[in-house]
């Protein structure tokens, strides 16, 4: 179906023609559409058509209690929901002037890194599928499911956990959880060679991905690109290191960078990040048993909970890029205003439009998946 307010343009004699991709299309990530002007199979210009997933999140949150909002916050980004909960909780904590106990902060860090592992595994599969390789998709989804099993074990939910609340986390880790986590990390590391052989050094994939959708560092900064997509352009910017939150300043990890800025560089950055996350999780397994204490700072009765007047901006590094919550309270039982700075709207709208220009038709899907945008977060 044509986009809203579409008006056919009468053009003179020309070789150009229009094509619609999405919203229901195997080559598009989620419920999102793209309109392309083509000359042969070269894209002359592209126009994003978002809004299929708009639910009015920021308005909905103004009408709900502070504690009720925790339930809808993770729905903003479906493949990677944990950073949403943590960022919102951190912002509310900052307004209230409380701090989560140190053990809760370690558990939160563990949840964030596990979520990053799951999201990256999912992305490998999606990106590979756009180049016609379906085996990595099956592998990625199956390995991600093992991570989801662990999520279910310690939070109770497979995808949406709603595990964080302002002031800490909801419950203690189950017994022998860290052993299970350690076993999973062993398994994921043993898969490294398989993934390298199948995908990352596979000549079919390398030929398709190299040089596809290349960004320079200046262009990336101008387009507000963050996260792995920016690090693939050679700039080592990571909120975890540059503005440490939770316990990241006590952990050792590298920030993988690539310089080419194309689709292949982006997926290599994600691959390296996956193993950095495993390295972080190993340190957490080592340190967590020695950190004793509470997991929650008490908050007042949530049903009559007035957060004091103030505003806060909390940012975290999600698997897609820099994610931030700006929360304003007027002293009532509901937020006065919540603004979400999601990374995907910059990637899926302006960057994709920029990169599609001059690309070939079959590469558009690959560019979109290599940017790893998340349509529910674009529309909100």
């Amino acid at each position: 179906m044509r986009p809203e307010n579409y008006q056919a343009v009468k053009l003179g004699q020309s070789n150009e023609y229009e094509i619609f991709i999405g919203p229901n299309h195997p080559g598009i990530e989620g419920n999102y559409a793209f309109r392309l002007m083509l000359d042969g199979d070269i894209v002359v210009s592209g126009k994003a058509d978002a809004g299929y997933l708009h639910r009015g999140f920021e308005k909905l949150m103004e009408g709900r209690l502070w504690i009720q909002n925790l339930a809808i916050v993770p729905r903003i980004c479906v493949p990677d929901p944990a950073p949403m909960e943590v960022a919102y909780s951190m912002a509310v904590e900052e307004i209230m002037g409380i701090e989560a106990p140190i053990r809760a902060q370690w558990i939160r860090t563990m949840q964030l890194e596990l979520s990053r592992v799951a999201a990256h595994l999912f992305t490998f599969g999606g990106h590979a599928a756009t180049t016609g390789m379906y085996t990595p998709m099956f592998w990625g989804v199956a390995d991600r499911d093992l991570v989801l099993d662990l999520f279910e074990d310690f939070t109770g939910g497979r995808v949406y956990s709603i595990y964080n609340i302002p002031g800490g986390v909801r419950r203690e880790l189950p017994p022998e959880f860290l052993q299970k986590l350690s076993n999973l990390l062993d398994y994921l590391e043993s898969r490294q060679n398989d993934y390298d052989n199948l995908l990352f050094t596979n000549q079919v994939f390398v030929d398709r991905a190299k040089g596809c959708g290349a960004l320079t560092q200046e262009q990336a900064l101008e387009l507000s690109v963050t996260g792995p997509n920016l690090r693939a352009c050679g700039l080592a910017y990571d909120v975890r290191r540059d503005d440490p939150y939770l316990v990241y300043d006590e952990l050792e990890f590298d920030i993988p960078i690539q310089t080419a800025g194309d689709a292949y560089a982006r997926i290599l950055v994600r691959r390296d990040e996956l193993f950095q996350s495993i390295r972080i999780l190993r340190q957490i397994i080592e340190r967590l048993p020695s950190i004793k204490g509470k997991i929650r700072t008490p908050i007042p009765n949530p049903l009559s909970w007035n957060v004091r007047k103030g505003e806060a901006y909390a940012r975290v590094e999600s698997s897609k890029g820099e994610l931030a919550y700006y929360v304003v309270s007027d002293g009532g039982d509901k937020p006065y205003r919540v603004h979400v700075r999601g990374p995907s709207s910059m990637h899926a709208v302006q960057t994709l439009e920029f990169l599609a220009k001059g690309a070939r038709l079959e590469d558009v899907a690959q560019i979109m998946f290599s940017l790893d945008a998340c349509p529910p977060e674009v529309d909100r």
């Binding site: 195997p26 997933l53 639910r55 479906v78 991600r144 989801l148 995808v159």
Partner: protein
Amino acid sequence: MKKELKIIQKERTNPLAHVFDDFISFCQSKSLFMLHYCTGCGAIELPPAMTSRFDMERLGIQPMVTPRQADILLITGYVSIKTLKRVILTYEQMQSPKYVIGICSCTVNGGMYWQSYATAKKLNEYMPVDVYIAGCMPRPEAVMEGLQRLKDNIRNDKKEHKGSAWKDYFNRYDYYLGNQQALFGDDWQTPTDIIAEAKLYDLETEETYGKHTKLLEKHQTPLLPQEMRIK
């Protein structure tokens, strides 16, 4: 100039007719192509259900990319009003018999977004739904269970009459069209002529027509069979 489509009434005189019917519904239930319109969050639980861990294909269900060849329309999650237009268009393009599965609580009653200004709350006001799978979001096991339920419904349709919800769209088109017009405005129309199809399949009832279809007729020209011309 209005040409009427000719309807050939077939009387079933073969004594083995019900045996053929049973065989056909058996075959239909064993081979289903599924079009998943990823409208919302529920889409994230479909890859595990389709790939190696839960493996939908062992039920005889495979994803299909075009609506024209699909049997099942899977609506995964909340349906915003902009999406609902596309969903209805997709549904009308599909060929009968067609089945709709609503996944996630949002399709049942609005779910988490019950107060949102941008979403349609109940999917079965706009199209007949065969199976609802509640949950936010339902686990892959629940998705498989729902698909299994649909298969049983198709298989036992002759006895229990649960697998022919799609006929309701033709039988009570006025009701569905009214709800669609209330949401999208009076000038809403799709390229598909449902009334002509209802006549062709002999599925029209009194409730097929009403004030909403009259409103539609004002700005819709009926689809006529084209003459073959050789220049």
